[in-house]
């Protein structure tokens, strides 16, 4: 017994099975975590090696090169880049997406240990570091304060960081730019000299006094009492009264030679949020935790925490990665609901009966729910990819049900009985339904085989659509006949009811449309060569549109963030940098109402902090992180705002280099706009510098390039202390002693720790600020020799200016310089074309070669993947059709609709001012399967009519007329399901808009063309005629 007759005969079982599916689906849906993208581990591993004292070139030759050679043969290694700079070598290994990173890490470790022997002896062990998505902060908050600023570090640690750390899923919480309390002892070197004292001596005295010691036990009578000596500073004000020496019988107090301040550690950094002094708090999650869940828990906890904080401490959220995710997800959910609504309306209009509409519409939730079950089982998440897959599937899952229902209705109209009509009606079309679904599966299943980053993104899409479509076939073959046999009633609707009126109105309009189409078809078949020539002309002329359509890797996405970096001249003091930062802070806050938090930081801060891994720091660098209002609450997108910020920054003369990065894509690799990058390979620094400069200038002249940067920094100024060995040893000193002495006076000597309330604070002794400003100050530093004499630094050493070698970057073992540019108001492809022209006229010296990197490289990689995929899919679709029709020529006729789908794509991309990118390419790939479906329906029916004995022309016209409604209905459901994707604006919508536009335009155009051109071409091929002749011959011979 067949599936459908069982289903019809056992309605209760069918309902129970689907009820079970729905319940499991709901369970899956409720338990599915939400995320922005599917989980993907970035395939990057870095190897960091430090070799103190070596300059960039030494590092490159002695460490980077050796390690690179050792790691050249790693499996799945895609790219190896390295940076060699003073003291450190960093090698970044990029693997193919989808590589097992545990394995890869082990391989890297093996490779490193193999070459370890060849490295110089005193090199520290290379550190192997695997980048993971959990490193990217889930949330960044700013805590600004006025009165409590000095103690903010302790307050936050107690009340904010500890509680947050206890939340499940939170990996680590750390502060950036927190002020640290310290006791600063600023000495006057002249007074020190006068008293014959040194910084080190002061340090020793302080350390020796600030101590608690047990001093044995005191036996008194019957008791034994421990004795303790308590010398620790009771409060910070006692320090200045400590006697440090004796000068001719008079005590010398610390206050005589120094000022003692209980204040903050002199951190070379500047942190502000909306102009207030602030501390940034970064929260990272554990790698398996879900961003949205963790962020929600944090926000809940924050509400409670805020009540416990002093009133002047304000906590603001600078970055909340979950917000964008949630906004995008709710947007897409809205899109899906609209799509569902449109699809139901279309079905209702065409079928005109609410019972039929209900049966067809039921297949939507069931198929989508199957998608959720898949996501749950495969431990996927609800993300923008899986949700858009559902949105794509909505329009297609009804197709099969429509075909089945239509055939059952036809049987009922002819007087069949409910049960039999349902069983045999389904039986008749079951094969056709399965075959046309196979063409769709032939498109989406190969998507799951894509490699690279595009593969990581589109794998879930392929699976979800395939599963939803497969479920829809099952629904169409079981639930639809079952329901048709029970609830479908065939009777003329009552003209007096509303639904009855609607039915007759829609049927009248549809019949008019049928007539209109029949006339067109008659004309086209009558003038078939003219029609075909017209079609060809339209297709060829649409190719010219390609010139006006830009191309890029991914559509730029507005994620409510902008980051920026401003560099003053190298070597500019932090104070000067702060002045500029102040100005920009107030300018940005006042000028842009769209900004919610403007956070700026400058200076080095904690060199060792994790934060320094995410951004370049320096006293002359200001880094901005800006949070904006949600996308739908502002008129301008981040790219327009970013462009205006560029104009603002440009006006400041002191700024040497800057970039504005809407979307913060530099740190996250996702979101934001495309980046143009030209890589110049070559061993010779001068030659490559020249070429880089030339390309920089060429790019500058191209419209739309912004934030041009050359990756190799200019040589930087440094001061070197050259010691005269002879003189030094003469005074009984050695290099370490001299170096320490200078360090203690300039950077400071941490003499001891001052304890208060269980916390320890550094007591730092050093020269007062005004005595450590010039080269003279350095030269005037006195060092006490072992014999007790005092020597000035100028006596034993010389200060010299010199220029340090720049950082050396390499890619795949070759030195390179990168020239990069952001893009505004144009697209990647056009800039590349213009630059190509300019590169041709350039004189590139020997040994220098040029390649495109950045988004262009990504684009080329994924486009070539996608072209391959498209070829594969076209072949697969042909295979499915050829075996369905048992013919080689008919699939070809049907495939004529594919080029016109592309014509439609070009037209709509042009009209909507969109670009060709990975997303629209995927849309085009999908179109291949969707548009041939129309052709299949049409040709299949025309064949049928020819077989039934109609003449070719009759068959084409009658077949066309009869199939107009199903073709229009299935196409319209898909087209209208895409409409919300195009029209609705909100977070994340930019990403999916190109796909909507592609499918929308491509399908509309190809449907119109298919309806006219395919029947015309069919008559030209005269397939029907040949078939009939064959048949006639066969019959004669039999």
């Amino acid at each position: 017994m067949s599936l459908y007759s069982t289903a019809v005969k056992k309605p209760v079982s069918v309902i129970m099975i689907f009820l079970g599916v729905i319940i499991f689906g709901m369970y899956s849906y409720l338990n599915l975590p939400v995320d922005f993208f599917p989980k993907m581990d970035p395939p990057y591993i870095s190897v960091m090696t430090s070799y103190t004292g070596a300059n960039a070139e030494d590092i490159e030759q002695n460490i980077t090169k050796i390690l690179e050679d050792g790691m050249g043969t790693l499996t799945n290694l895609k790219k190896m880049t390295s940076t060699s700079k003073d003291n450190t070598s960093v090698i970044a290994l990029e693997f193919e997406w989808g590589t097992d990173l545990d394995n890869a890490t082990n391989e890297v470790r093996d490779a490193v240990s193999l070459v370890d022997k060849e490295l110089p002896d005193d090199v520290e062990n290379p550190i192997i570091f695997r980048l993971s998505t959990s490193m990217i902060p889930v949330m960044i908050m700013t805590a600004s304060a006025e009165e409590s600023y000095i103690g903010i570090s302790d307050i936050l640690d107690d009340k904010l960081i500890q509680p947050l750390n206890r939340i499940e899923g939170v990996g680590s919480v750390f502060m950036i730019g927190a002020p640290i309390r310290a006791i600063n002892i600023n000495v006057d070197p002249r007074k020190l000299d006068a008293y014959q004292l040194s910084v080190e001596q002061i340090g020793q005295v302080l350390a020796a006094n600030n101590i608690n010691l047990p001093s044995g036990n005191l036996e008194m009578g019957k008791s034994d009492i421990p004795l303790r000596l308590e010398g620790e500073f009771e409060n910070s004000s006692v320090i200045k009264n400590i006697i440090i020496s004796n000068a001719s019988g008079h005590p010398v107090y610390l206050r005589d030679v120094a000022t003692v301040q209980d204040s903050l550690k002199d951190i070379k950094s500047y942190e502000r949020a909306n102009g207030h002094k602030t501390v940034r708090i970064m929260v990272q999650k554990t790698s398996d935790a879900n961003t949205v869940t963790v962020a929600n828990k944090i926000k809940e906890k924050l509400k409670k925490i805020k009540q416990t904080l002093p009133p002047d401490i304000k906590i603001e959220t600078l970055l909340d990665t979950s917000l964008n995710t949630q906004a995008s997800i709710s947007n897409l959910t809205e899109t899906i609901l609209y799509a569902l609504f449109f699809v139901v309306i279309v079905v209702m209009l065409f079928l005109g009966r609410w019972r039929s509409t209900l049966i067809v519409a039921l297949s939507i939730p069931i198929s989508l729910i199957a998608g959720f079950i898949y996501m749950y089982i495969s431990s996927n998440t609800i993300n923008i990819i899986t949700l858009s897959s559902l949105s794509i599937a909505i329009g297609m899952v009804v197709d099969d049900s429509i075909v089945v229902l239509e055939n059952i209705t036809k049987k009922l109209e002819r007087g069949g009985f409910a049960r039999e009509s349902a069983i045999y009606g389904t039986n008749e079309v079951s094969l056709a339904v399965i075959a046309s679904t196979l063409t769709i599966v032939a498109v989406f299943l190969p998507l799951t085989m894509l490699g690279g980053m595009t593969g990581m993104i589109f794998k879930p899409l392929g699976w979800v659509v395939t599963i939803a479509i497969a479920t829809s076939v099952i629904v169409a073959l079981t639930l639809v006949p079952m329901l048709s046999s029970t609830i479908l009633k065939y009777k003329e609707p009552d003209k007096n009811t509303f639904t009855g009126k609607l039915y007759f109105l829609s049927q009248a309009m549809l019949t008019k449309m049928d007539d209109f189409y029949e006339n067109i078809l008659k004309w086209a078949v009558g003038h078939r060569w003219l029609t075909i020539a017209g079609g060809t002309f339209i297709f060829l002329s649409s190719l010219f549109l390609l010139k006006f359509i830009g191309s890029e890797f991914m559509p730029p996405q507005d994620n409510d963030q902008i980051s920026a970096q401003v560099k003053l001249a190298q070597g500019v003091k932090l104070d000067e940098t702060i002045k500029t930062a102040h100005y920009l802070d107030s300018l940005f806050s006042a000028k842009y109402p769209e900004f919610t938090v403007v956070s700026s930081s400058a200076g080095v801060g904690d060199e060792n902090s994790l934060a320094s891994m995410f951004q370049e720091t320096g006293n002359y660098i200001i880094t901005y992180t800006i949070a904006l209002k949600p996308f739908n609450e502002r008129d301008r997108n981040i790219f327009e705002i970013g462009e205006e910020m560029r104009h603002d920054i440009e006006k400041l003369p002191e700024i040497e280099k800057f970039y504005v990065d809407p979307g913060s894509s530099k740190n996250q690799k996702m979101g934001g706009g495309s980046k143009m990058e030209v890589k110049i390979f070559g061993e010779n620094f001068d030659k490559t510098n020249l070429v880089a400069e030339e390309i920089y200038n060429a790019l500058k002249k191209i419209k739309g390039t912004k934030d041009l940067l050359i990756s190799r920094d200019r040589e930087k100024a440094e001061m070197k202390l050259l010691i005269n060995q002879e003189k030094m040893t003469f005074f009984g000193l050695n290099t370490t002693m001299v170096a320490n002495a200078i360090r203690n006076r300039i950077t400071g000597l941490t003499a001891t720790k001052y304890k208060e309330d269980g916390n320890e604070y550094d007591v730092i002794v050093r020269y007062d600020e005004k005595y450590r400003h010039s080269t003279n100050d350095i030269e005037n530093i006195s060092i006490i020799t072992p014999t007790g004499k005092s020597v000035k630094v100028s006596e034993i050493a010389q200060l010299k200016h010199y220029y340090a070698l720049p950082n050396i970057e390499r890619e795949n073992k070759q030195r390179l310089v990168k020239v990069s540019s952001a893009i505004f108001g144009t697209d990647l492809g056009s800039i590349q074309q213009e630059l190509d022209k300019k590169l041709e006229t350039m004189d590139i010296p020997d040994g220098v070669s040029i390649e495109y990197g950045g988004s262009i490289e990504d684009m080329q990689d994924s486009f070539s993947d996608l072209f391959m995929l498209m070829a594969l899919i076209i072949i697969l679709v042909y295979i499915v059709m050829a075996s369905q029709f048992e013919s080689l020529s008919e699939p070809l006729i049907i495939m004529f609709s594919i080029p016109f789908a592309f014509t439609g794509v070009f037209i709509s991309l042009y009209l909507f001012n969109a670009t060709i990118n990975v997303i629209s390419m995927i849309g085009m790939v999908m179109l291949v399967g969707i548009v041939v479906k129309n052709g299949i329906v049409l040709v299949d029916y025309i064949n049928l009519l020819v077989d039934k004995g109609n003449s070719l022309k009759q068959a084409v016209i009658a077949g066309g007329r009869s199939r107009l409604r199903p073709v229009l209905m299935t196409s319209l459901t898909t087209i209208l399901a895409m409409l919300p994707m195009i029209v609705l604006k909100g977070s994340g919508s930019e990403t999916w808009r190109p796909m909507g536009i592609t499918v929308f335009g491509g399908l509309i155009f190809s449907t119109v063309i298919t309806l006219v051109l395919i029947p015309t071409i069919y008559t030209v091929f005269g397939v029907g005629k040949i078939k009939r002749q064959k048949k006639a011959i066969e019959q004669k011979t039999v």
């Binding site: 002819r414 007087g415 069949g416 009985f417 039999e420 009509s421 045999y424 079309v429 094969l431 077989d947």
Partner: protein, 97 residues
């Protein structure tokens, strides 16, 4: 006793069975999924892609007085749904065991 052969569109299976039951005609032989074509009109039922419909057939031995009743009911059914295809033929039983 007469033999009545009823050949009909599968879609009518339930109805035909109902008529037989109503007349208390218990015995029958049934063929499922068989091809058929009318002598002068109607669509062929061949179970192919072109002519997807199929027939079922009943052969029942009916007491003489019920034959006319049966034919009349079958005719009514056929007239109700002429497009489906339903025919009945009657012949004599020579002998039986």
């Amino acid at each position: 006793m007469k033999a009545v052969f009823i050949s009909y569109n599968q879609s009518l299976t339930f109805e035909v069975q109902a008529i037989l039951d109503k007349l208390s005609i218990r015995g029958f032989t049934q063929w499922m999924d068989i091809k058929g074509k009318g002598s002068d009109k109607g669509e062929p039922h061949e179970g192919t892609h072109t002519w997807p419909e199929l027939n079922n057939a009943h052969l029942s031995m009916v007491e003489d007085e019920k034959v006319d009743l049966l034919l009349a009911q079958i005719k009514t059914l056929d007239e109700k749904v002429p497009a489906q295809g339903l025919r009945a033929f009657v012949w004599n039983i020579e002998n039986s065991i």
